[in-house]
C-alpha cells in the first residue's frame, strides 16, 4: 500500500475515523516501531509484540493530543522508546543503565535515517521498491527474485544496482543528506 499522503494528512484522516488511513499509518510506521523495539532495545519477540501493540493502541487513543500532525513520527519514536525502557525496567527490576539507553539512542538515530531512506524507496515505486525490499529486507537471493520475475539472476543484480543509483540521485536532490558515517 503506497500513497502520497503526508504524515500530517494521514493523521488528519485517522482523526476523522478513516479506517483505511489508520491501516496505512500502521503500515507506514510498523517497521520503524518494530526496529526500535528489536534492534534498539533488543527486546524479546514477546516483549516486542506487547510494545508494538501498545504503541499503536496509545497512538490510536491519543491522536487528538498530538500538537502537530506532522510530528507523528518523532512522537511514535519517543513513545516506543519509553515503552521499551519501561519493559526493560520490569524485566530487570533495576533502573536501566545509561549504557542501554545510550546504545539504543545511537541505533535510533540510525533507524531514523533508515526511515528517510524507506520513504525515498517507496517514492521510487515499483519495480525498484519491490526489488530492493526483497533483496535487502527479506534476504531473498538474486536467484529467488529472478525466478519470480522470470529473469536471470544477473539481470536482477544489475537492476538492483541501477535502482540504488536512482535512489542515491533522488536523496542527493533533497539537499538534506545525512552526516557521513560508517555502516
Amino acid at each position: 500500500m503506497t500513497s502520497r499522503l503526508t504524515d500530517a494528512e494521514l493523521v488528519a484522516r485517522c482523526r476523522e475515523g478513516d479506517e483505511e488511513a489508520w491501516a496505512e499509518l500502521v503500515e507506514r510506521f510498523s517497521r520503524y516501531v518494530y526496529a526500535i523495539a528489536v534492534q534498539g532495545f533488543r527486546l524479546s519477540d514477546h516483549d516486542a509484540e506487547d510494545v508494538f501493540q501498545e504503541v499503536f493502541a496509545r497512538t490510536y487513543e491519543r491522536l487528538d493530543r498530538l500538537r502537530e500532525d506532522s510530528a507523528v513520527r518523532p512522537w511514535l519514536a519517543q513513545l516506543t522508546r519509553n515503552l521499551c525502557v519501561d519493559r526493560l525496567r520490569e524485566r530487570t527490576r533495576v533502573e536501566p543503565t545509561e549504557d542501554i539507553e545510550t546504545g539504543a539512542d545511537e541505533t535510533l538515530a540510525e533507524l531514523d535515517l533508515a526511515l528517510d531512506v524507506r520513504e525515498a524507496l517507496e517514492a521510487l515505486g515499483d519495480p525498484c521498491s519491490e526489488l530492493l525490499d526483497r533483496f535487502f529486507c527479506r534476504d531473498e537471493s538474486y536467484r529467488t527474485i529472478g525466478e519470480g520475475l522470470e529473469l536471470p539472476p544477473g539481470t536482477i543484480a544489475s537492476r538492483i544496482s541501477r535502482c540504488l543509483v536512482k535512489m542515491r540521485v533522488q536523496l542527493e536532490g533533497r539537499n538534506d543528506g545525512p552526516a557521513a558515517s560508517g555502516g
Binding site: V26, S30, R31, A114, R168
Partner: protein, 84 residues
C-alpha cells in the same frame, strides 16, 4: 573532498535496517478501530448483564474468538483489565 553519504553500500545497509514486522502484529494493529468497537460492546454488555459478565470472564479468549477476533495476549489482558 567529502565522501558521498548516500553511497550504494550505505543505502543497502539502511534499507535492510527496516525489516517487516510480523504480519500478524501489523494486522492486529490495523484492526484497532474495529477491535475498539467490539471491546467497548463486550464491556458494555458485561456491565449491564451479570450472567453475560460471568460467562465472559470465565473464558475471555473464547469470548473474543466468538466475536471474530484473534485472542492475542494483549487483547485478552486489555479486556481483563477493563472488566476488573
Amino acid at each position: 573532498m567529502s565522501a558521498n553519504p548516500w553511497n550504494e553500500e550505505r543505502l543497502g545497509f539502511l534499507i535492510g535496517l527496516l525489516r517487516p514486522a510480523p504480519q500478524g502484529w501489523v494486522e492486529a494493529a490495523s484492526q484497532l478501530p474495529r477491535l475498539r468497537v467490539v471491546l467497548d460492546d463486550l464491556v458494555e454488555r458485561a456491565q449491564a448483564d451479570a450472567a453475560f459478565r460471568a460467562t465472559l470472564i470465565a473464558d475471555l479468549e473464547a469470548a473474543l474468538a466468538r466475536e471474530g477476533i484473534e485472542p492475542r495476549p494483549h487483547l485478552v489482558r486489555e479486556l481483563q483489565t477493563r472488566l476488573s
